[in-house]
């Protein structure tokens, strides 16, 4: 019987298989950041162990880094300690680190792909749930706990119980103005935040094949919000073109050999998924969340749902609590929801195409009075590229704040936070209670919706703007 993409990548990494024991899998790439690594290094130190494969390990600082005054000492002692600890650990063990101020610094899931380290058919782990992002390249990529971080540092392997496989097939074509973010939010709303539990999801079908690499990363990034262990997309010409000539992409003969292998990484026609979901892309429209988990979303054109409409009592209760926390009323048009803050950034939507999309909407327009808009590139490289295209000028001319790279308001571990009761339209991936600051209220949106919302001050898509026909598809390129 044929195998799925995920099974092929799995099989190619089995170091040891024994009856009654989990497979021992080799890990091709281990990404580290400051929050989940300290105890792992501590464990190595105590056991007198080193890092087995420094050449497959890389660290960056992202969660705690400030986006303003990055040359000044970090004010928050906890953040400062976490960063200093990572620096000490990397120096002591010899791990390559891109600290704040370095040109390769940025959100770990933006840095790996842009360096060309994330490649098809690899296994990628990080002590971070959004490691699923890297699956966009046809890599098997998943988040791990601190004990597992230590295990990978010491052995470059992990004992793992098998996953189940799920296909999410997106038929048809995404309508004009509908993005990868809208697609994944709609998928999560459909299968639920627990729908992917235990599965590796493979996104496939014509609408997925048409997505750019960056859009594919947006989709795979949020697999974890459906509870999935990982998300994957089969590598194709789009993937190869993205990787070619990246700093760590193979070269010469190695490139040819790699591409030949990568072409084999497709689900066989006779392979069977444990579960299949089919989505019709042509039915999708800009999608936003109204609740406090990423599955509580609806088309922008609709209204706040009535919790009573949920058949499942726990869904109903969750919706009631969410509306209460979010300060929304049943039947209120989503387009009438007023925001205080707009955040463009994160490992979901902080890459160059996202910034281009937001800038295209903002060009020649202005952020509404009383609205604060933060634009935080996912990495320093993204930031430099944006500056070279003049996007930073578009943002600042529109009244938005152009910040330094990092996770920023995606989780508010640094000073970029919502005040209690404040409401944001955010391109990030989690709208949990307090995620962006204690008492903060988050609506997850695409970069296009974020920018249009900033202009009108209420949840909006570019087509809602008065002079909508004037919106170019991109600027500065």
């Amino acid at each position: 019987m044929g195998r799925t993409l995920a099974e092929k990548v799995w099989d190619d990494h089995v170091v040891r298989r024994a009856e009654g024991e989990p497979d021992l899998l080799f890990i091709d790439l281990h990404l580290l950041h400051e929050v989940t690594s300290p105890q792992a290094f501590d464990g190595l130190r105590k056991a007198g162990r080193g890092v087995r494969r420094l050449d497959l390990t890389i660290a960056t600082e992202d969660h705690n880094t400030p986006t303003l005054d990055i040359d000044k000492p970090i004010a928050d002692p906890v953040s400062r300690t976490q960063l200093e600890t990572l620096r000490k650990n990397c120096a002591e063990f010899g791990v390559r680190l891109h600290p704040l101020g370095d040109v390769e610094q940025g959100v770990v899931h933006v840095v790996g792909p842009q360096l060309g380290l994330t490649q098809p058919g690899t296994t990628v782990v990080c002590g971070d749930s959004h490691t699923s992002t890297h699956g966009a390249f046809g890599a098997l990529a998943f988040g791990i706990g601190t004990s597992q971080v230590e295990h990978v540092l010491a052995t470059q392997t992990l004992p793992l119980a098998p996953f189940r496989t799920m296909a999410v097939t997106v038929e048809g074509e995404l309508p004009e103005g509908v993005t990868a973010k809208d697609l994944i939010l709609a998928v999560i709303a459909r299968i639920g935040t627990g729908g992917g539990q235990g599965y590796v999801i493979e996104y496939r079908g014509p609408a997925v094949e048409k997505l750019s690499m960056e859009a594919r990363m947006t989709v795979c990034n949020m697999s974890i919000e459906a509870g999935a262990r990982a998300g994957m997309i089969a590598p194709d010409e789009t993937t190869f073109a993205y990787l070619k000539d990246r700093p760590h992409a193979p070269r010469g003969e190695d490139w040819d050999a790699a591409v030949a292998y990568w072409r084999t990484l497709r689900t066989d026609d006779d392979a069977v998924f444990d579960h299949e979901v089919v989505v019709d892309a042509s039915e999708l429209s800009p999608f936003v969340t109204w609740g406090t988990n990423p599955g509580q979303g609806a088309p922008l054109a609709s209204a706040v749902p009535d919790p009573a409409s949920y058949a499942d009592p726990s869904d109903r209760l969750a919706a009631e609590n969410a509306l209460d926390y979010m300060g929304l009323t049943v039947g209120q048009a989503l387009r009438d929801i007023r925001v205080d803050t707009v955040f463009v950034g994160s490992c979901t939507n902080g890459r160059i195409e996202d910034l281009r999309a937001a800038a295209a909407v903002l060009q020649g327009r202005h952020v509404a009075d009383g609205v604060r808009m933060l634009v935080v590139p996912g990495s320093v490289r993204v930031s430099l590229q944006a500056v070279s295209e003049g996007l930073d000028k578009v943002f600042t001319a529109a009244g938005a704040e152009w910040r330094h790279a990092g996770c920023s308001m995606c989780l508010g571990m640094n000073p970029d936070q919502l005040a209690p009761g404040e409401r944001s339209a955010s391109t990030s991936n989690r709208n949990f209670e307090g995620r962006q600051g204690k008492g903060g209220r988050t609506h997850l949106v695409s970069p296009q919706v974020a920018a249009a919302t900033a202009v009108l001050g209420t949840l909006a898509s570019p087509s809602d703007l008065p002079d909508a026909s004037a919106v170019p598809t991109a600027v500065g390129v």
């Binding site: 021992l24 300290p38 162990r49 295990h151």
Partner: protein
Amino acid sequence: MEAFTTHTGRAVPLRRGNVDTDQIIPAHWLKKVTRDGFEDGLFEAWRKDPEFVLNRPERQGATVLVAGPDFGTGSSREHAVWALQNYGFKAVVSSRFADIFRGNSLKNGLLTVVLPQETVDALWRLTEADPAAEVTVDLVARQVRAGGITADFDLDENARWRLLEGLDDIGLTLRHEADIDAFEARRPPYKPSTTPATAQS
């Protein structure tokens, strides 16, 4: 991980059930960057009471915690195990442990022993009456002995073997280092490396 064969020490009788991990180590301790130094956070809220059993002078240096049922429920934080170990506990006895806590404890070398509640009651009575009474937790014989009490306990063979040998997951994996070496030797050369491009040539 330190091997666990048999341990003898004085006990702390903790007459409480449903002790969740938030009570074992409160959330604000999770910002720490080490596995050490959680001892002061252990049962932090309760320790504000000078009469709390852990604060009693006669309990200082005790190494066996005898707790009520459903110990370690709630959040999956591994810090709960670290806090107990940092404080000096080698074994915890209860009639029922939360699954994740138990998994974490055995992974870290903290022996969690399940005994019937009557035996736990007997251990409480014994160690409350005589704080100097010693409790022996014998993993080789799978037996707890204290005063006139002798009680057998179960532990799955794989977990027991790992504790007896002092094997953590990493130690176990390293037993198959030859397999890892062999895998590495056959890894294709085009696989990515984080070595900076300049240092490669």
